[in-house]
Structures are given as C-alpha cells and as structure tokens.
Symmetry: C2
Subunit: 413 residues, 2 copies
C-alpha cells in the first residue's frame, strides 16, 4: 500500500522515533524497578524523575505535583472520583459540560448513581462553555468543576483561564482534561488556575498506555489505585519505566517544537478549511473557527453518513493509491451508530451529526498531503451524495457552521 | 561493571528479547488504535485479539473473559472495588488474609472506611491459609473472597483449588491475585474455580505497565476506569497496543517453557536452600519448603538487617566484581523501615522479620550464578554479624523455619 495519510491524530499519534529510541533503552537491559533500593533500581528512578521534570516543564508545574498514570482515562477517573470521595463531607455537587469526553461524563454519571449531583452545562453552537454559567452553577456544596481544555472532536478551546479565575475565587477545585491540548498548544497550570490536569502520552507523539495527573500541592484527593508506595503513595503499581521515559521525551520534544508547529498547523488547518468551503456545498464547520486546536477540522457534510466517508477514504483505489484515515464522531465510541453527543450538544440535528468527518493533522502532514486527501474527500462526497435518496443540493439545513465569523445561519438548538 | 546477578525477579523481570521484538513492531509505523474502524485500526485490533488468545491459553480461560489493564495493581483494585460495588445490595463482607500484597490489603482497608466489613484470615508459620478458615468465615453477606495464589515475598502457594471448591459451593466470588504465579507455575482458572484473576506482564518476562483481569462470564463487577467503549465497555482507555502485544508474546513463551523451566528452577532453588542451610547458622527459611514458587528463596538471617545485606551485595568489590541484587521485604514498600507485614503474619519476631533476604531467580540464572551470589552472601553476612552488637551465634531464636519438613522450632506467634 502506498504511504497512507493519517488524519486521525486526535485518536492517537505516531510515536516519535526519538521517543521509541529512549524507550528501547529501558525495554532491554535496564529493566530495574525504581521502587527498589539497589543501584539498578536507582538508575530507573533517576530516569523517571527526569521524565517527571520534562513533563512539569511542559505544563509549568512543579515536578512534585506530577503523578504518572496509565493515560488520560485513568487520570480523569482518578481526578473526579478521587476528589468527590475526598470532599464528600463538604459537598456532593460537581459541574461539567454536555460536550465532555466520555471519560469525564461516565465517572460523573457513575457518581450520580451514588448520590452525587452533577450539573451538565450547555455549550453554544461552537462548543464553548460560558464562564458565567460556571459562576452561576457553583453552589455551597460544589466540590469540583471539570472542564476539558480542548474538545477532542471539534477542537474548540474552552476559556479555562476565565473559568479558573472563577473557581479559584470561589474556592472550588478545577480539573482540566488537557489530553488534546498538551503538546499542541501552550498549557500552563498557573495560567489556567487549575488544581488538577490530565494528559496522555500518545496524544502528542508519546507512547500509549502512559499519562499523568497534575495535582496541585495541597489538593485533597483519594487514590484510585491503592497498594504499594509508588508516586508518594498516591498511585500504586510498578512504574511503567519505558512508557514514562518515553512520555518525558515526548514532553521535551513538544516543548521544543510547540511554537513553530502550532503556527504551521494553524496555517495548514485554515488552508484546508478554505479549500473545503470553496469546493463543497452544504457543509458545516463544527467547533469554533479560530478558538480551536491547530490540527483539528470537523465538518458535517449534509446528506451522507460520516461512517461511509471514513470507510471510503480508507480504501485505496486505482486512481487514489494512498489510503486516507479520518474519523467520524469520537474514536472511542466509533463502532456504535449513535450520533456524537458532542455534535448534538452544539445543537446539530441528528442527520448533520451523523454526517461529520474529523480530520486531525500531525507534524508529519504537509500541504501536498492535505491536497491529496481533500481531493479524494471531494470525490467521495460527490459520489455518495449522488447515491443519496435524501440529499438535495442547496437545502442548506445548516451550511456554514461556526459562528466565529461569517456564519449565515445558527445551529438548530 | 561486570555482569550483575539479578535475584529480584519477584519485583520485576527482564523483558524477553522476543517480547521487545514484537513490541517494537507496534511502537513504530503501526501506531493505530484498535478502537478505530478503518483498516489501520483493524490491524491493531487483530494484534491485541491474538494477544488476548495467548493469555487466555496460558490460564485456561475463554479469551472473551480477558480484560487488559495497566497491571496487577489495577486489576486487584478493580476486582475488589468493582465486585464490592456491584454486589453492595447483596452484602458488604469480604474475606482475605493477613499476608496479602498491599494492592489487596489497601483496597480492602479503603472499603472498610466506607462501611464494608473485611475478615483478614491468619496464615500459619509457612504462610498458608487454612481452607476451613475460609469456609468458617463465609457469612450470608459475604460477596468476595480474595486470596493470593503465590505470595510475592515468601513464595508460598495457597491451596486455591480447595478454597475455590468452597467459594463455588457457597456461591461467593473468588478473586485470585496470580501476579507471581502466572507464567511460573500452572495456573488454570477452571482448576482454581476462581471467578476473577489478576496478572501482570512484567512478572513473567513481559513489559511493565500492562496486565489483565480475568472475569468469568456472568460475574457482576462495576468498571474502575469509565469512559470509552474499549474492552466491551468494562475498561476504558486507548489500548496500550505495544504493551498488550508484548504481554501476549510473554504468555506464549511462558506456556512453551513452563514445564522444563519449573523443573530447572525448583532444582536450583533447592540447591541454593541446601547451600544456605549448610553454610549459615541461625537462619530461618520463610515460606513453605515445598509448596513454594520454583524461583523463590526467603531467609531471615539472625542478628543483621536485610537492608544492610541487600545494599552490601549490590556494590561490587575488588574481590567480588559482580553486583548481586536481592530484596528485603516487599519491593513495593522497601524504602520504609517497617518490618514486612507478611513475615509478621507468619509469627516472626520483628528482629527476624527485619533480617529477611529474598532471592528470586529467573530463567537467566545458572548454578554458577547461584554459587557466586551465595558465596558473597555468606561473606557479607559473616562480616555484618561480626560487627553486630546483638548477634550471638547459636542463640537460635528461630533457626530452621519452614515446617514443611525437618523443623525444630515453631515461629513465635
């Protein structure tokens, strides 16, 4: 197969060769556990502490406040359940929003079944939470606000700084799921005024199976994984040394490349959005036009299913030898036929939510790759629309999308 | 430094080069997530399903009952908290034993704080639980018995088959922490009559950061990590594909090598125990003499601290160029000065519990390595004893240890 164009980097990224390189050192002869006291273990301990420092540097944290986990899902579960349990005497109210990732929503729903009260704030047509809504929702018994930094599906970046100012003033913990933003845009725990922050290695060219939870010093939280004394008795389990070292290297590389790569990807993104809007009728850009991740494009294509587009793009043809990998809805739940809860939260009618395609670019993608991929997208969409019994060109159910600029209609709500 | 002799394989093992080899394939170009529907993801899905089958074959399970986790600590936490929560309407009583791993004891203590009742059964001087004690402890409201298969510190193998027959008859779930036994001795979920079983990759030449929980079909358990639909909606989070593939390869290799390697290590273990007992006075073999892991030796050496022995062995000298890595107490809690709760549970006085040395061999260790390591041990112990203000040869506080055969005293209790 010719070189594929992988535009599903919000799901997972190619592990950087330098990351693989340092991991390999710890997959072979250096297999000691940092929990042990002899020299062999001390070397592993030094390596993970260096990784902790790299990660801390990337998010502006004190390295003492970084706790390694198996990924953002664990970090999110830990943050929500751990704070809820630690503060249950104080109150049992949590605030989040309707367009969160399932690893936020599901722990919240789980707590609801066990006596907690959760407020799911609405988002606007671009996926933004209104900080005033957060302020209005905070009650005497509110113990946690959990807000995503950048939405994994539509790329919208939340006004976390403003939300953080509110939670800090009200003395309520703020947890930020930054799985999509860390390594892609500046993330600074002090600027965000957050108390807890989740991240995942494989979302920014690091390894799968490793992540971290930032816990600001003094924050009360019950451990999720209890056992040995690792991670200052807050997260038990033998350290995944190769994974942690790889995560550290990914953080180091991300910090080095962040500025130029953001600029390059933002230009690529806007170039691609421009081409899509020029070449396709009856589409909607989902998510905010400018307050969005540099590598995220999400469009609803009227009259066709995202699933059909995704599969059609993924099979090479005689004319188009390079497969193109995109996603529809969330990669975590694809395989179901339910429309994305995030697109529904934006107010999209189910038929438009079904027709969404997400393209998330990486540091490997060039303008030539983008041209190639989009040409196939245009062909495939045209072909599928021609076969569609329902599509009628120009019906404009919701053609322009993001109200960031130049919108000519509002999402149904 | 000359080639070290690593005798701390109960803490962690050297990842097999074949395991590293297959992991490398999934660390590079094949970075797709199995949750995605396009071909690139399908390949990853096939790889993890093959790994699941290898793991299922190793423990006699249906592959549908294998759930990948980040390691045994997560599996243990999930099993205990997940069953407790799923069955809390039925009852809130759990049975375990005093010599369990912290990743069992700590979740139990956590549940106690939240209204559950936990019975910690005693163990005898060899660390064995009496199945009749289990039968006697089961009540109307008992929902779970959690028993380790082989103790990580003293290597004693519990009579799980007998305990499983009891729990099955009484209709109570049995969870088995098999982190130390899987890949080292036969583990068959049907023969053990267990409902849940935890295991960890890095304990049998697989990678760190990955493990599994076997959940027998029909067992009621609440997920610990909630979020995406991975692992049939029971364990969310993007799959650690390289780790899982590595775990599968480790399982495949373990199954192939199990019989001969057990035989070889048992002979090596008994040869070493024989040498120790011949060359050292006033020692106690901790754990059962025969019902023990083929690769485990644990001895208390009267009059000296295990910590001092461990550190002395780990530094090469002019005469002994090869460092020898052993452990004292549990690797997970070493760093603390508390005596091992497991040795205390055997009835050892604190001073003997402090003087324990654990040597756990691997498939790489030969009789020559053993001779080399033990000669240094004898020298070091002699030297430390000579400096000890308290040791008096022949005081025989508890000289012979395991009552498995030829014991001339009983552990204080």
């Amino acid at each position: 197969m010719d070189k594929a164009i992988f535009l599903d980097n919000a799901a997972t990224t190619r592990t950087d060769p330098e990351v693989v390189g340092v991991m390999s050192e710890w997959l072979g002869d250096n297999f000691g556990s940092p929990a042990t006291l002899y020299t062999f273990g001390s070397q592993a301990k030094q390596a993970i502490e260096q990784a902790r420092q790299h990660l801390a540097d990337l998010i502006g944290a004190d390295q003492k406040d970084i706790y390694f986990t198996s990924g953002a899902t664990e970090s999110n579960n830990w943050a929500i359940k751990g704070v809820a349990e630690a503060l249950e005497e104080k109150g049992k109210h949590i605030i989040t929003n309707q367009a969160e990732h399932h690893s936020i929503l599901m722990p919240c729903r789980h707590l609801e079944k066990r006596g907690w009260d959760v407020t799911y704030l609405p988002v606007d047509g671009d996926g933004l939470v209104n900080p005033e809504d957060v302020a209005g929702a905070i009650r005497e018994d509110t113990v946690l606000v959990t807000m995503v930094h950048a939405n994994h599906e539509i790329g919208t970046i939340q006004p976390i700084e403003e939300i953080g100012a509110i939670t800090r003033e009200k003395g309520v913990y703020l947890h930020v799921n930054a799985a999509q933003s860390v390594g892609h845009i500046p993330v600074d725990v002090a600027a965000l005024s957050c108390d807890l922050l989740s991240l995942s290695g494989h979302k920014f060219y690091g390894p799968k199976g490793v992540g971290a939870l930032y816990i600001k010093r003094g924050v009360r939280i019950v451990p999720l994984l209890l056992g040995g004394g690792q991670e200052k008795k807050r997260r038990a389990g033998t350290h995944n040394v190769p994974g942690i070292v790889g995560l550290g290297k990914a953080a180091e590389l991300a910090r080095k490349n962040l500025g130029p790569e953001m600029e390059r990807l933002t230009a690529l993104r806007d170039y691609m959005i421009g081409l899509i809007e020029k070449n396709m009728d009856d589409i909607r850009l989902n998510g905010h036009r400018t307050r969005r991740l540099p590598n995220n494009i999400n469009v609803s294509i009227e009259g066709i299913e995202g699933e059909s587009i995704m599969l059609s793009l993924s099979y090479p043809t005689a004319a188009n030898a390079r497969p193109v990998f995109v996603s529809t809805g969330s990669a975590c739940v694809s395989g179901t036929l339910e429309p994305s809860h995030i697109l529904l939260a934006l107010g999209l009618p189910a038929e438009l939510a079904h027709g969404s395609v997400r393209m998330t670019m990486s540091r490997h993608d060039t303008r030539e790759d983008a041209d190639y991929a989009l040409n196939i997208l245009f062909e495939v969409a045209e072909r599928l629309r021609a076969m569609s019994p329902v599509y009628k060109r120009g019906s404009k159910k919701c053609a322009s999308g993001s109200s960031g600029e130049g919108c000519d209609c509002e999402a149904a709500s």
